[in-house]
């Protein structure tokens, strides 16, 4: 452990009692170490001071009424996403019934069905859904399977980055990342960070 690390951990209060005594003794003995300790302590205090700001109290007074208003608006509109999702599901079921009518072995679920769709068919369904979507937490939970099946090649371990690029440009990227799990989102961000994709324009 370097001297700086020892002091940071000492200031953070995470050294055990033996190490605390040892660091204290070293600080007492060494002028250089004492200076470093004082500098880091001062930095810690400065950072804390930077967070002590005066905020407009009205913001916190109005926060709850604004939330209540939002909730009431959502309640008024709440029939729309359910209606839209229901319509999409109905359309999918009808489509699937037509496509798979003679295939008795097929297990039909949304991911499998969507994998069978042509891009333009999937797009029209997504556009249809997006148009009626008022976006709520419930939608996040229910409405993402189609998109994710496109994005993650079905196995959740690899990302079709070309699909991400295409679909991100077509649909709200915010909605895309809202629908993926933390692990999946990390995967996307890591791939992007590593610039590990070939962009074709």
């Amino acid at each position: 452990m370097t001297n700086q690390e020892k002091i940071i951990r000492y200031l953070d209060g995470t050294l055990d009692s033996t190490d605390i005594e040892a660091v204290k003794a070293e600080i007492e003995k060494s002028t250089a170490l004492r200076k470093e300790y004082e500098r880091l302590l001062s930095l810690k205090k400065r950072l804390k001071k930077l967070s002590e700001v005066e905020a407009d109290p009205d913001y916190f007074i109005n926060l709850l009424p604004r939330f209540r208003e939002r909730i009431n608006q959502k309640k008024k509109k709440s029939f729309l996403p359910a209606y839209a999702l229901g319509t999409v599901l109905t359309a999918l079921i009808i489509f699937a019934a037509v496509v798979f009518l003679n295939d008795s072995d097929s297990t039909l679920n949304l991911i499998e069905i969507s994998a069978q769709l042509e891009d333009n068919e999937l797009e029209s369904i997504l556009v249809y859904y997006s148009n009626g979507n008022t976006y709520s937490i419930d939608d996040e939970e229910d409405g993402s399977e189609l998109f994710l099946s496109e994005l993650f090649n079905g196995d959740n371990n690899s990302i079709d980055m070309e699909a991400l690029k295409t679909l991100s440009l077509k649909y709200a990227i915010d909605d895309v990342l809202e629908d993926v799990s933390d692990q999946e989102a990390d995967l996307i961000v890591n791939e992007i960070s590593n610039k590990n994709i070939l962009m074709s324009n």
Binding site: Q4, L47, R66, F67
Partner: protein
């Protein structure tokens, strides 16, 4: 604090239909939610949006809260997750050149920070925090500003205490280097 105002009772009352109990929960935690989100995302508009989202999650999901952790850590977990999601979205947008990473100022001058001195302070802090990777920033904020124990942070982030201590150390070291260079 009166007994009827503890979190467990407030949740029970809310689930029994007492909306005033939800208001009390919000009043109790709104500052913590806002300032945690604010330090994570670095501007008022995004922080405000996260606060509203967190309240919505609380409102809808309190019924499923199992008291396996404290309400306090659950709220931090929701706020942190939302903030990290927003930072991820921002990074993806930057990658697709939807916006400029250096000039992410969507506030349009809107802020709840009142005085010039406060504005200068928070801008400086936000500049410093922005240099940390998102997950390191999360740990640093929870430890340094929210003053949570590593055990509490572990419950929020799902990381080991040892890993969190290392994260905090690297964050502090990075800030130290940055401030040294700027001074």
């Amino acid at each position: 604090m009166p007994e009827q105002d503890n979190d467990f009772d407030l949740i029970q009352r809310f689930l029994a239909g007492d909306e005033a109990a939800f208001n009390k929960i919000v009043s109790k935690y709104q500052q913590k939610i806002y300032w945690h989100a604010r330090r994570m995302v670095g501007n008022h508009i995004d922080a405000d949006e996260i606060v509203q989202e967190v309240l919505l999650v609380l409102y809808k999901k309190l019924a499923s809260f199992k008291f396996k952790s404290s309400l306090y850590t659950w709220i931090y977990k929701i706020t942190s997750t939302r903030s990290l999601n927003l930072l991820r979205q921002r990074k993806v947008k930057e990658f697709f050149s939807f916006e400029d990473s250096e000039d992410h100022d969507i506030s349009g001058g809107q802020d709840i920070v009142a005085t010039l001195e406060s504005k200068e302070k928070i801008e400086k802090l936000e500049r410093v925090l922005k240099t940390l990777p998102a997950k390191q920033r999360e740990v640093f904020i929870l430890r340094h500003f929210d003053e949570l124990s590593y055990e509490e942070i572990s419950a929020i982030t799902g990381k080991s205490v040892g890993g969190l201590k290392a994260n905090y150390f690297h964050a502090f070291k990075k800030i130290n280097d940055l401030m040294n260079n700027n001074d």
